[in-house]
Symmetry: C2
C-alpha cells in the first residue's frame, strides 16, 4: 500500500497577531519537512488565532488574513517546503461574507480553499454572528492519495461533510480544530473521531490548537485515527508539538465529483506518483492522556501564563491571605511564570489571625517567590473614622483597601494583578466587588471550592512524588475557611458547607436545573431557596469580575449569559 | 367597509417577572376593552420581558411562561375581556426547542400560536443561540376580518412571512416587537412598516416594547400603517401607552391555506359577524416624534430609572466633580428619580481646584438634590506615604479612594453607585479602573464627549423654555475638561481635541473602519495610530465597566465583542 508521512502541527497561535502566527507556520512547516512529512496539518484559524470575535467584522483584518495566506504559500516554497502539502486555518472574506476557512498550500500556491459548514452558536461559541457557512468540499490528490478536509464542528455534526466525503470517496481526511478545553472533553473526542473515520472509510487527522486566549484554553491532544477506529497517534496535551505519523493507505483512485448530501465535492490532482518506499517510524507516537487533576492543573497554568505573556506582562501580584484560594493561585502562578515573576503581599488588618500571616509567609517560603507585608490598618482606619463605617461597610472597606493597595503596587511596579476568587464564591457573591475581586485575570475563577482543595492536595502529592517541597502549607488546606473581615468570622457563618453548596451549584449553574429538580435531587427547600437567591442576586458582581480560564462545562462569562435585571425566581411558581 | 377598533398596548415588562408581567396584561387588556377595542396587541415576549438571554435555556422558566399563557387566557375571560382578541408575546418550548412565540387569546382560550421565523444574531442579538425558527403562520378571522401575525425581525427580512401572508390573503397584520432604541432608528421603522403593509396588501400594526433592560432601552413609538402606507396612528416614545386606532377594512374573505414561500398558512374562524356600525374616533392619534436631543435624553432617563427601580434600589450616589460628565449624569438622575433620590458627593483632593468644588455645589443647589463634601486627602496620604507612590500610581490612588468612598457610603446607606464616564473616555481608556469606573450603572456610557456637551446645552435650553432653572452650571459646560489628578492637568495634555477624537472614534468604533479608511477620511497618521492604540489597549477596562444605556449603533458591551488578548494592530500591515 502507498505510504504517507503526515505531521500535525499543534501550535499556540496568538489572536490577531497574523505576522507572528505566519512565522510560526513557517517554523513548524520546516520542522515537518525536516521530519520527512509529506503533509502537515495546522489547527483551525491557525493564522489568525481563535476566537477572533468581532475582529471578524473588521474588513482590514480579514483582508490581512487573506493576503497572509498567499504570502505564506510563497514563503513556504522559498523555505524549501514547496513539496510539502500544508493545511492551515484562516479568516476568509468573500462576496457572501466572512468565512471560517482552511486552505491547502503546495508548490507556492493555494491549491484548495474550503469554508466551515457547521457554525456552532451555543456555549462560548457565536459563529453564526460571524461566519457564513460553506457548502463545498475540496479534495486534492497527492502521491496518488485523495485527501479531503473538514473544519472542527463539521465533524461534530451527523450527516455532515464527513458523510459526503465518504460517499464521494477519499483516502484520508484532515480536520483542523480549535476545540476549547473543558474537563473530560477529551473522553468524547476519540470515539467521535473514530466514528467519523469509519464514515469516511479513511483515516482522520485531527489537529487541535494549544494555548490560552482570555477565558479559553486549548489543550492540543491532537490525534490520528485509522478507518477501523484504531488510534495511530496522539500528541501531548497543553504543549506545542509536532506529531508525526506514518500511514499505509490503499489508494482508492476516487474520482466522483458533484453533489453529495447537498454539498459540492471538487477535486484537484497535485501528483499521482506514489512516495518511494521508506522506513516508517518504528512505534506509533501515542502520548498518554493526563490524569484529571493534572489536566485541570495544566489548563489553569497555561491559561494564566498565556494571558500574562500574550498581553505583554512579565509578573503578577496578588494578596497572600494564608487561605487556600490564594495558596493554590500562587502555586499555579509559580508553575506558570516561575517564582521570580510572582509577588505575594500579605495585607493584614486588625482582624487578621496570626496563623493567616504565618501561613502566607510559609507559602512564599515554599514557593521562593517575592513576598512583603503591608498592613491595611491605617487605610481602613481613615475610612472607618471619617465615614463612621459599621457592619458590612466596615467589612468591605477592608477588602477594598487591599484591592487598592494591590492596584497601587501594580501601577508603581508594573505587575499584573490577579484575583484569587473561586467559582463557588463567584456563584453566591461571597466576595467584595472592587476588593478581592480586583484584578486583570482570575486563575481559579472556574474552579469550585471543593475542587480547589482537591487540586491543592494533588499538587502537594505530585511534589512529594518528585521529591520536591509541597508548595501549599498543610494548614492552608486543613483550616476552616474565613474571610477574616470581623472577629472570629467563618465562611460557614454565611454559607452552607462547601460540599453541599457545590453540589447545589453544580445542578443549578452547570445543569441549569430548576427548583423542582433540585428538590427531587434531595436538597432541602430552605437551602435551595437561600443558595439560588444568592446566585441570582450576584449577577452584577460577576459582570465586573476579571476573565479566568474556563475548565467546566459552563463557566461564568460568555458561557452563561444572564440578565442583571431579572425578576425570575426559581421556586416562586410552586 | 367593516369597522374594527384596534389597541396597541405599549407596556414596560420586566425581564423574568412573569407574574408581574401577566398582571400588566390583564390591566392593559381591560383598558383596551374599556376603550371599545376589538383587538389588542402587546409587544414581543411581553409576558417574559425581552431579552431573557440564558433564561431561555432554563426549562422551568419556559414552562412557567407557557403555563402563564393558558392562565392569562382564562384570567382575561374572567376579567370581562373574553370578546377581546389579545395578542401577547411569550417564550414557548416544544419538542424542537425554545421559541420566540406570540399567541392570540380569545374566549378564555389560546386560539393561535406562532413562532418567530427570522432570528437575528448580530449586534446585541443572540437569538440563534436561543430559539428555533417557526415556519407556520396562523390567521384568525374575527368579525369577518382575517388577521395574520408576524414577530419583530420577521418584518425586517425581505421575502419573509409578510410576503407569504400577502399571497395567502389577510385583511390585517399584527406585529409584536421588541426593537431596542438607537439614535435615528425610528427614521427607518416607518418606511419599513409601510413597505411591508403594501406587501401584505393590508394595514400593519406594530407594537413595540417600552422601558429599560440592562444596557437596552425600548422606545415604544408603536405605529399603525395602512395598506397604502398612510400613518394611521403613532404612540408617544418612552412611556407606557395604549394607542387606539379605528380601521375601515375591506373583508377579503380569504381562505387559501397551505404552503406559501415555504411557510404553512393555517386559518381559524372565531367569528364572521361584522362589528355593528359605530362612531369612530374623530382624529387619528398621531404623536409627534421627539427631537433628536429629547429622544436621547429620554432614552438615558428611562434606561437609568428602570435599571435602578427594576433592581429594587431607590436612590443613587456618585461623585460631583464640577465637570460636565457628572453634571449631565446628575441632571439625568434627577429627571429619572427625583432630587430626593440623588446623592452627590464632592470628594476633593489636594489637586482639586476651587472652581471644581464651587461648580459641584452649584450643581447640587440647582438640582435640589442631596450633597455633601468628603475630602479624600487623608486617605490618599496614607497610601502615598506608606507605599511611596508617585506618578500614575499617585494619580490613580486619588480616583480609587473616591471609588472606595462611594462604595462605603453605598454599603452604609443603601444607595446604588453610578459611574459617570462617557463613551469617549471608555473608548480610549481615559479612566481609572476601580476609581471613577466604580458603579452598578453608567448612565452616559454610550454618549461621546462632544455629545455630552450638546445634551447639556439642550437640557439647559429646555429648562429656560419652561421657565425653570437650567440644571447644569454654565461653568461646567464651558471650562476645559480636567481629571484634576495632578497640578494643572488638562484632558488635552493626554488626548487629541474632543471633536477630532470623537470623529476618529465614530469611524473606528461605530464604523469598524481600518487604518486605510481613516487615512482616506483625512485624519493624520500619527493621531490615528495614537487613538487606535489607546482603544485597543483599553479592552480590559471596558470588560469590567458597569452596564449603561445603549443609544448608538454600536455600544461597548455585547454589541462590540473584542478579545482582550489581541495582537491585531491596524496600520501595521501598511
Amino acid at each position: 500500500m502507498p505510504q504517507l508521512r503526515i505531521a500535525l502541527a499543534q501550535i499556540n497561535s496568538t489572536v490577531g497577531d497574523v505576522p507572528g502566527n505566519a512565522q510560526l507556520h513557517v517554523d513548524w512547516a520546516k520542522k515537518a519537512a525536516q521530519a520527512g512529512a509529506h503533509v502537515v496539518v495546522f489547527p483551525e484559524m491557525s493564522l489568525t488565532g481563535y476566537p477572533v470575535e468581532d475582529l471578524t467584522l473588521r474588513a482590514t483584518f480579514a483582508q490581512a488574513s487573506r493576503q497572509a495566506v498567499d504570502d505564506l504559500a510563497r514563503r513556504l516554497a522559498e523555505a524549501g517546503c514547496g513539496e510539502l502539502l500544508v493545511y492551515i486555518g484562516y479568516l476568509d472574506l468573500d462576496e457572501v461574507g466572512p468565512r471560517d476557512a482552511a486552505a491547502a498550500l503546495y508548490g507556492g500556491e493555494v491549491v484548495a480553499r474550503q469554508f466551515k459548514h457547521h457554525l456552532p452558536n451555543y456555549g462560548v461559541f457565536d459563529e453564526q454572528r460571524y461566519f457564513k457557512a460553506g457548502r463545498t468540499l475540496d479534495v486534492v490528490r497527492l502521491h496518488g492519495l485523495d485527501i479531503g478536509m473538514v473544519i472542527c464542528e463539521d465533524i461534530w455534526q451527523d450527516g455532515g461533510p464527513v458523510t459526503a466525503l465518504g460517499q464521494a470517496g477519499v483516502d484520508l481526511v484532515v480536520a483542523p480544530n480549535a476545540s476549547p478545553y473543558e474537563r473530560s472533553k477529551d473522553d468524547i473526542r476519540l470515539p467521535l473521531v473514530a466514528r467519523r473515520a469509519a464514515e469516511a472509510n479513511a483515516p482522520l487527522v485531527y489537529t487541535n490548537l494549544v494555548g490560552g486566549q482570555d477565558d479559553l484554553v486549548f489543550d492540543g491532544d491532537s490525534i490520528v485515527v485509522g478507518a477501523d477506529g484504531e488510534l495511530l497517534g496522539r500528541a501531548p496535551q497543553f504543549v506545542e508539538h509536532l506529531l508525526v505519523v506514518d500511514l499505509d493507505l490503499p489508494a482508492g483512485g476516487h474520482s466522483a465529483e458533484g453533489e453529495f448530501e447537498g454539498m459540492t465535492v471538487r477535486r484537484r490532482v497535485l501528483g499521482s506518483e506514489p512516495v518511494p518506499a521508506y522506513e516508517p517510524i518504528a512505534e506509533a507516537p501515542i502520548s498518554e492522556p493526563l490524569s484529571d487533576e493534572a489536566e485541570v492543573w495544566s489548563a489553569l497554568v497555561v491559561g494564566l501564563r498565556d494571558y500574562v505573556q500574550k498581553n505583554g506582562a512579565r509578573s503578577v501580584i496578588f494578596g497572600f491571605s494564608g487561605g487556600i484560594d490564594s495558596a493554590v493561585s500562587a502555586a499555579l502562578a509559580v508553575d506558570a511564570l516561575g517564582p521570580d515573576c510572582v509577588y505575594g503581599v500579605s495585607m493584614p488588618s486588625q482582624y487578621s489571625s496570626e496563623h493567616s500571616k504565618a501561613d502566607a509567609a510559609e507559602l512564599a517560603r515554599r514557593l521562593g517567590c517575592h513576598f512583603r507585608t503591608e498592613s491595611v490598618a491605617d487605610m481602613v482606619r481613615v475610612y472607618v473614622d471619617q465615614l463612621n463605617l459599621t457592619g458590612l461597610a466596615e467589612e468591605n472597606i477592608q477588602a477594598r483597601t487591599r484591592g487598592m493597595l494591590l492596584m497601587a503596587l501594580s501601577n508603581q511596579e508594573g505587575h499584573l494583578v490577579l484575583a484569587t476568587g473561586n467559582k463557588t464564591e463567584l456563584a453566591v457573591g461571597y466576595s467584595t466587588i472592587y476588593g478581592d475581586a480586583v484584578g486583570a485575570f482570575a486563575p481559579i475563577k472556574d474552579v469550585f471550592k471543593t475542587h480547589v482543595w482537591e487540586l491543592a492536595r494533588w499538587r502537594n502529592a505530585e511534589a512529594e512524588k518528585r521529591g520536591e517541597m509541597p508548595p501549599i502549607p498543610e494548614n492552608s488546606i486543613t483550616k476552616p475557611p474565613s474571610a477574616e473581615l470581623r472577629p472570629g468570622q467563618l465562611d460557614s457563618d454565611s454559607l452552607p458547607d462547601y460540599p453541599l453548596l457545590d453540589d447545589i451549584l453544580d445542578d443549578y449553574v452547570e445543569g441549569d436545573r430548576g427548583y423542582a429538580d433540585l428538590i427531587a435531587a434531595g436538597f432541602d427547600a430552605e437551602t435551595i431557596d437561600r443558595v439560588l437567591r444568592m446566585v441570582d442576586h450576584s449577577e452584577f458582581k460577576r459582570r465586573q469580575y476579571p476573565v479566568g480560564t474556563k475548565i467546566t462545562f459552563k463557566a461564568f462569562g460568555r458561557d452563561r449569559r444572564l440578565p442583571i435585571t431579572n425578576g425570575w425566581r426559581e421556586g416562586t411558581q410552586r
